[in-house]
Symmetry: C2
Subunit: 277 residues, 2 copies
């Protein structure tokens, strides 16, 4: 599909993209860009990329597709730097978990020479690093491509095909709609999981059953990464916390009033929503 793909940031997601691209033969060459020499060597050791460099300019200058796979807080800076060196007609994308803030900011300094389109593969793990990368995480994972009035349709179609070849189920949405829907489906569960772990005591942790472990698994995720996500998608995150708090209050009230019918109605509704996936 592409002659050369450059992946900027070869961690869990970047590394997994590299492995998947190589496995599915979607590019002649995959080059990884690392910030540190140790990361550069690790990317090669785990065979996530064909080549790896610390030199961004060199890696992106003749790439047909540049994928920024850094933490959310670093995406716009890396996009700006990449755009300076990218060739005409190439596609620039990012895989950040928040889109409104990132996409709108990059579009402000993007040029017509390069097609910038934001994406968000809803795949990952509480683990980090290329050592935990695997091409399997994209299998049937939802992937959102953001579309704005500036989006080039041909480039979008090509990028869509690329992610579908990696195994993703793609959706095209505005950056604003992305943040709204993903806030409920992803940011909020993470908020809740972190808050649940933070509520525990030394005594209660002794009784952590499988259900507790499942629900709090993602609270083992990287705090730096999620701090950036929560702050970058702040308005949507706050909105979804409000929705959840209202829902929690309704259940709490039914329990407080010993209203068995209302409690059961609430739980049945939640169950039917969950069973609908």
């Amino acid at each position: 599909m592409f002659k050369k793909i450059a992946i900027v940031g070869v961690g869990l997601i970047g590394g997994s993209i590299g492995l998947a691209v190589k496995k599915k033969l979607l590019a002649k060459e995959v080059i990884g860009v690392a910030r540190r020499e140790s990361s550069r060597r690790k990317a090669l050791k785990f065979k996530a990329v064909d080549k790896a460099t610390l030199n961004l300019a060199e890696a992106v200058k003749d790439a047909d597709l540049v994928i920024i796979a850094s933490p959310v807080g670093k995406i716009t800076g890396l996009a700006r730097a990449s755009l300076k060196f990218m060739k005409k007609g190439a596609i620039l994308t990012d895989v950040g978990s928040t889109k409104k803030h990132v996409v709108r900011k990059i579009e402000k300094f993007a040029n017509k020479k390069v097609h910038f389109i934001g994406t968000h593969p809803m795949a990952g793990s509480e683990k980090t690093g290329v050592e935990n990368a695997t091409s399997l995480i994209f299998d049937k994972a939802p992937l959102i491509i953001t579309k704005t009035k500036n989006t080039d349709k041909k480039a979008l179609a090509r990028l869509k095909k690329f992610w579908e070849n990696l195994g993703c189920r793609t959706f095209v949405l505005s950056p604003e709609k992305h943040d709204m829907h993903v806030s409920l489906a992803s940011y909020l569960p993470h908020v809740v999981s972190f808050a649940l772990s933070a509520s525990q005591t030394k005594d209660s942790l002794k009784f952590a059953a499988v259900s507790f472990k499942d629900i709090t698994r993602v609270s083992s995720s990287d705090p730096e990464l999620w701090k950036d996500i929560f702050l970058s998608a702040r308005p949507s995150v706050l909105k979804s916390i409000k929705v959840f708090s209202k829902s929690l209050k309704a259940l709490e009230k039914a329990i407080r009033k010993k209203d068995a019918h209302a409690v059961k109605r609430f739980l049945s509704k939640a169950k039917s929503i969950r069973d609908g996936i």
Copy 2:
């Protein structure tokens, strides 16, 4: 360990106990008591018990151990009925998820002839019914045995050994302490999971990734069962919701104020608690 064990209620937990007892040869005979003829036949079909009957009196009258494995709302009634027929020196136990309400109520009408001791194996599934029963659910599962001033020490030691033989990690606690700790570790995660599913929209559900599915898995649990648990352990459940709400508010406030340090501190604390399990 026992000549005859009677299991009253052969659903997911009762059935799993039957399978585990037979696998580990802990009793000469396991008899199941069902409410409906269809359940009686199912218990036999899945080989969860050696014999199955609809007649409670007949099943419990010569049993050395009677285990009430019904939904929480039915435990005290079945305990009262069983006590009428049980033989001197036998042990009566239940496996209900809430203990203060259940144990204190049964102790009011229990007699010295039979040793009543409450237990709570923290094992289960969002699935129900003997068709989903498996002896594996007890493997390393936390199990709480409740101790009160009325508890017979020899009977407690015997019951403890029994559960350890099934694979559980046992803890001895007062019914009150049980409800307090388990409320944070089990009722609260269920409350939160139900509230999270109830907060979703048709659009957000399209973007349900693995993390969302893990966190909301238990909200597929039986609403009738969890309604009973939430109402039976009402004071503890309400207290744990209060603890959680406070924790959620702290995180929300840090995000609202764009306080990156406070957000990261909160997430790091949550992660270290979770990683400590």
